[in-house]
């Protein structure tokens, strides 16, 4: 029993923090968020050179073969400064391949994910109120061995930057997962303006896209694979959100120490300091849940659904409060585009529905525990 990071994980954290601070300070975040895909191929290649992109990918495909605990360390640091990148999306596509990809599919995509030549993402959702398998209605029409897809996948993260999509659909009642490259005939991406400008979302329009046997993932139990991907998504966005919450807290603590009103730094007043203390208690508590949840992906999958929900439910509501409190504690400047704190507020709004909001996960926990 050891609930601590290794020395190597400490170095990894330092390295990512240094990289992010040097290569993508807030000025660069603001520049990138004005670009079409909020994605910099140069930054992406630099991340690849650092070994960050191949972190979850086995040696044989050019990666480092590390664990989700390591990946969570990375995401906490990239979340801290709101780094715009398809890091999470590509990691989830990686998980789809590791879980259910054929050797040919893995050989085709994983090396390209590892060295930064390709970006992947999930294209699962349809209805705005549905997360899981029950929300997947897209029905394929069979043409011999080929599944022909007509319909839409919505809320696809990094849709513009992605080279390949993990698409969920049905043949009859059976769920299927497939890889659809962006060049597939009949595929079109429509970008949708996002609340959090450092993030991108789009609709995947499938107009007669043909999915052959070689494109389909070989999951023994597609529902289980889907649930795993969603739970990994929970863990990933919780890690990003934790980092962002810590970032918001740090920005606000600095402001509270600097800003003087009625003769004192506003951080002297309990009305300010108690809310910041509560925010700190929340971030520390989320860490405990998150790190354990990440470890279950690596080591104890049976516990993953519960811990993914515990961590995401806490994060979703706590970061909402932290985002709002931190803007309010800034006073009027918190409402201006000039100050960074509003970017954290928007990230908190973004992360709430991603992979299920607080009530969604509390309902899921209640179903697990109470029946």
């Amino acid at each position: 029993m050891n609930f601590g990071f290794t020395e190597e994980q400490g170095f990894l954290r330092e390295a990512v923090r240094k990289f992010v601070d040097e290569r993508c300070p807030m000025a660069e975040v603001r520049r990138l968020m004005k670009t079409r895909d909020a994605h910099s191929p140069e930054l992406w290649r630099a991340l690849a050179e650092q070994g960050t992109l191949g972190l979850l990918i086995p040696d044989e495909y050019g990666g480092a073969g590390l664990s989700w605990v390591d990946f969570v360390v990375v995401l906490e640091e990239t979340g801290r400064t709101l780094l715009p990148s398809p890091l999470v999306s590509t990691a989830l596509a990686t998980m789809a391949l590791l879980e259910a990809g054929s050797p040919a599919q893995r050989s085709r995509w994983l090396p390209r994910f590892a060295d930064g030549r390709a970006v992947g993402t999930l294209a699962l959702l349809e209805a705005s109120d549905r997360q899981g398998a029950a929300g997947i209605a897209l029905a394929a029409v069979r043409d011999g061995e080929v599944d022909v897809l007509r319909g839409e996948k919505r809320f696809v993260a990094d849709a513009g930057a992605a080279d390949v999509f993990v698409v969920a659909y049905r043949v009859g009642t059976a769920l299927r997962l497939a890889l659809v490259p962006k060049e597939a005939p009949g595929l079109r991406v429509e970008l949708v303006p996002t609340l959090d400008e450092t993030r991108r979302s789009g609709t995947l329009v499938l107009d007669g896209v043909r999915v052959g046997p070689e494109d389909r993932l070989v999951a023994a139990d597609p529902e289980a694979t889907l649930e795993l991907l969603l739970d990994c998504g929970c863990v990933a966005v919780t890690a990003e959100g934790l980092g962002a919450a810590e970032g918001a807290l740090a920005v606000t603590v600095r402001y509270a120490n600097d800003r003087v009103q009625f003769g004192s730094p506003i951080g002297r007043y309990q009305g300010v300091k108690h809310r910041l203390a509560d925010a700190w208690v929340d971030t520390e508590s989320i860490k405990s849940l998150l790190y354990y949840a990440a470890w279950t992906i690596d080591e104890r999958r049976a516990e993953l659904p519960r811990y993914a929900s515990l961590a995401k439910a806490y994060l979703a509501d706590a970061f909402t409060r932290i985002g709002v409190d931190c803007v309010q504690l800034h006073g009027a400047v918190g409402y201006t585009i000039e100050y960074d704190i509003q970017l954290y507020l928007k990230r908190s709004k973004w992360l709430r529905p991603m992979f299920g909001d607080g009530d969604y996960h509390r309902d899921r926990l209640a179903a697990l525990t109470l029946g």
């Binding site: 809320f155 609340l195 993030r199 007043y269 009530d359």
Partner: protein, 377 residues
């Protein structure tokens, strides 16, 4: 205690309803400038713009209860605001009526009622924050003119205003409250520069206003030199009836109920979710409490005991409600909350409203110290 209205008041209510039935299009084209101008002319004919202003200056000479009825009916039908120059009607006009010269009244009052002017108010300054009376913007007398140097910030609408209701320091040697003077300055005056401040939605709703030797005639001074603090405190009291706040929150509540009626959560109608239902009820409770608290203060005003710090009640309730409504509306949107849209935009916008009225913590300090008698920090 009597919540019945007199037959005359009831008749007035019917008159408004009849007017709205006959004149208000459905839906209300409230973004169409031509409609808004025409609408204002119709309201002017009824003397409903500046309803409580004296009739001799173009107002309606109405009492507070009828004003309440008018606002309530207009708001229930989502009619456009009563008048086009919000700041002019709420702040500037009443101050000019009370303290203005005959020339100032002639110049400004009718323009405000007709919506030909558009006023902004120059109070806040950088680094002054909540302590308004410490303002530093200087005006120095030079013959028949004041010469103004300094800066204002958080000036709403300055980027398209015609005039500014400006607080300046004319005497730095006396106590901070006594050295303040109020000026009525056209925004076209040379030496005034406006720099919009973008808010978090990327819109310019407020501004910095720089004064670099701008000159304005002494005739534009409202009230005596050094009496500016009194003038503005009177104007602040005008703003604080709390009635319009609750009608606005009632509209938000109607909107979020409509959203909840069409929303689905995880495959189930949102209105079957116990927690959604109770959160809507909780909002109903607070909105109704605000409405009735507003009526209590209205009664105090009618009885000549205008409420002071008590208005902090509805300001704090409003902060709680805006937060709750924003969060619930985003939750009801589900994944749609990731995208841009009107509801999402409003859910970010409430921060501006809440801070604009003085931050909740400042309100709490006021209550604790002035009303409960706790020691100052």
């Amino acid at each position: 205690m009597d919540f019945n209205f007199s037959p005359e008041e009831q008749a007035f209510r019917e008159e408004i309803r009849g007017f709205l039935d006959a004149n208000l299009p459905d839906p209300v084209p409230d973004e169409d400038p031509a409609f808004l101008q025409a609408w204002n002319r119709k309201l002017r004919e009824k003397r409903w713009v500046g309803f409580s202003w004296p009739r001799e200056w173009g107002g309606g000479g109405g009492d507070l209860i009828r004003q309440f009825i008018l606002k309530e009916e207009m708001s229930a039908r989502r009619a456009p605001a009563l008048g086009l120059d919000f700041m002019g009607l709420t702040w500037v006009g009443p101050a000019v009526i009370k303290h203005g010269t005959k020339e100032q009244k002639a110049e400004h009052l009718e323009a405000i009622l007709d919506g030909r002017s558009h006023w902004c108010t120059g109070y806040s300054e950088p680094d002054v924050g909540s302590d308004l009376a410490s303002l530093q913007c200087r005006a120095v007398r030079d013959g028949d003119e004041y010469v103004i140097h300094g800066q204002k910030i958080w000036t709403t609408s300055a980027h398209f205003a015609s005039h500014i209701f400006l607080l300046v320091r004319t005497d730095p040697t006396v106590s901070k409250y006594k050295g303040i003077t109020c000026l009525l300055v056209p925004m076209s005056t040379p030496g005034i520069t406006v720099t919009p401040i973008e808010n978090l939605s990327g819109k310019a709703s407020f501004n910095q206003v720089f004064f670099d030797g701008a000159r304005t005639p002494v005739a534009n001074r409202l009230g005596a030199e050094g009496e500016g603090w009194k003038v503005v405190m009177g104007a602040l009291a005008n703003e604080r009836s709390g009635i319009s706040e609750s009608t606005e929150m009632q509209q938000h509540l109607d909107d979020i109920r409509a959203l909840a009626k069409r929303a689905v959560r995880n495959g189930r109608p949102a209105l079957q979710d116990d927690r959604v239902r109770r959160r809507l009820s909780e909002m109903e409770i607070r909105v109704e409490a605000m409405r009735l608290t507003g009526l209590r203060h209205l009664t105090d005003q009618i009885n000549g005991k205008p409420s002071g710090s008590e208005t902090a009640i509805n300001k704090l309730q409003r902060g709680i409600l805006e937060f709750e409504m924003s969060e619930l509306s985003l939750e009801l949107l589900g994944s749609e909350a990731l995208h841009q849209g009107e509801i999402q935009h409003d859910a970010l916008g409430w921060h501006g409203t809440v801070i604009g009225g003085g931050s909740p913590n400042i309100q709490r300090n006021i209550i604790a110290e002035r009303i409960l008698g706790l020691p100052k920090d």
